[in-house]
């Protein structure tokens, strides 16, 4: 690889990781409590999941476009849009995990005198962990890919190479952006899959 690109690949990769890390952190921080609240409210659950599904269908480039006039160009806009996308898989998988707890297990927990809070923290969430990690994995891999588009609105990251490569028809720049992003996605996928397997209780 061209020696002059190496430092840029490194710095843009780090920027890309930062973008993905912040996005996933925000999505988890919103999705987990939302899932816990929605697990006990079937009516609200239908509404929220429906809305989230619709939001998910808006193409990412278009969403960036909509958000630009509202919050302007740069990293904030990208992180907001990416978090919206990452939210749904985590929300959905957490809900699946909590609702999938064996009813007889929940019933004994209640009958043994555990409080709702103890049931949530000691039974439901631990049993939902593999499912939560599965959602986290999907969200992370997707975000690593989608984050490349964030370069179009000035958020930086590996997408900068892609924008340049497309504009200048520079194959080397395209590869400099695409390969590290793909490697990052593969690594995240493998790593989280490993964690998912380790945490499966049964």
């Amino acid at each position: 690889m061209n020696g002059s690109l190496a430092p840029e690949i490194l710095s843009l990769s780090l920027q890309h990781l930062r973008l993905v890390g912040i996005t996933i952190a925000i999505a988890v921080a919103l999705a987990l409590p939302a899932a816990v609240l929605l697990a006990r409210r079937p009516a609200a659950r239908r509404w929220v999941l429906g809305l989230a599904n619709i939001a998910q269908t808006v193409p990412s480039l278009a969403l960036f476009g909509f958000l630009l006039p509202l919050i302007g160009i740069g990293e904030h806009t990208a992180i907001l849009a990416l978090s919206l996308y990452a939210l749904l898989p985590i929300l959905r998988s957490t809900l699946t995990g909590i609702l999938g707890v064996d009813p007889s297990v929940r019933e004994s927990a209640m009958a043994m005198g555990m409080t709702p809070r103890q049931i949530l923290w000691q039974v439901e969430l631990p049993l939902a962990v593999p499912s939560i990690v599965a959602g986290l994995r999907i969200a992370t891999v997707t975000t690593i890919g989608t984050a490349t588009i964030a370069a179009f609105i000035g958020a930086g990251g590996l997408g900068v190479f892609l924008v340049r490569g497309i504009a200048m028809m520079d194959k080397q720049a395209l590869l400099a952006g695409a390969l590290p992003a793909a490697a990052m996605a593969l690594l995240a996928d493998e790593g989280l899959e490993w964690i998912e397997r380790r945490l499966s209780p049964a």
């Binding site: 064996d102 007889s104 009958a111 043994m112 049964a202």
Partner: protein, 249 residues
């Protein structure tokens, strides 16, 4: 006269507009094993669940240890009632030891005291502590899971035990072993129990009194010898089932 740990007074219950329990009156005295016998849909499981408040009664009153259930904090009350269900409902992510120690831990016992209690209970239900305490429920047979379920229910030495068809899904041999052990256990720990089953043999073997439910109403409350000679229609229907293939034990 011994004091009633549990008093069920004129309890009725409707689920989704359908009456499931009709005017049930039943006392459980200290040291008794009262078996709720009935066919599927007779309301026996619902009655058990009105006792620990998993299903609210629509009318009438349940009193536990002399106090109306509505005046109890449900969490405190349930910790004084052991509970065993058909599939044991063990926590799959916890070891046998953690499962059995649940209520003592919730009651904030010292860890050393919890460990000693777990060991004692494992021995009481016939499982070698060294071999079983660190296993997970998935590493147990059906019979072993039920034994752990019973040990968990006995965790903090509750005054009342509730059993909901605990042996129903076991093979006949294991079931018989556990039934025998239940009788044995009762002799040593002198527990009071309310036990749901649809198996009349089990009822006759385990009960000090049998409460027979039919369509949500109590048809009969009788000791096993009285039950064998009872003339009520549902009692005869149950007894007919075992006379065909041998004498009731």
């Amino acid at each position: 006269m011994p004091s009633a740990i549990l008093e069920i007074r004129d309890v009725s219950c409707a689920l989704g507009g359908r009456p499931v329990l009709r005017h049930i009156d039943l006392n459980v005295e200290e040291g008794e094993t009262v078996v709720l016998l009935g066919r599927s849909g007779s309301g026996k499981t619902t009655l058990l669940k009105t006792v620990n408040g998993l299903v609210p009664a629509s009318a009438g009153e349940v009193r536990f240890e002399g106090r109306a259930a509505t005046l109890w904090d449900p969490v405190r009350m349930r910790r004084r009632m052991g509970y065993v269900i058909q599939d044991a409902g063990l926590f799959p992510h916890w070891t046998v030891e953690a499962n059995i120690g649940l209520v003592p831990r919730l009651e904030e016992w010292e860890p050393a005291r919890v460990a000693a209690r777990v060991e004692l209970l494992l021995e009481a239900v016939g499982l070698a502590p060294a071999e079983f305490r660190h296993r997970y429920p998935r590493q147990l047979s059906g019979g072993e899971r039920q034994r752990v379920g019973i040990a968990r229910a006995l965790g903090a030495d509750p005054p009342l035990l509730l059993f909901d068809e605990p042996f129903a899904s076991l093979d006949p041999i294991t079931r018989f072993e556990l039934q025998r052990q239940f009788v044995e256990l009762r002799r040593t720990v002198r527990k009071t129990a309310l036990f749901v089953t649809h198996d009349v043999r089990e009822a006759l073997m385990l009960a000090t009194r049998i409460a027979l439910l039919r369509d949500g109403a109590l048809e009969l409350v009788a000791t096993p010898p009285e039950f064998r000679n009872a003339g009520t229609p549902e009692a005869r229907a149950f007894l007919a089932g075992i006379e065909e293939d041998g004498r009731p034990k």
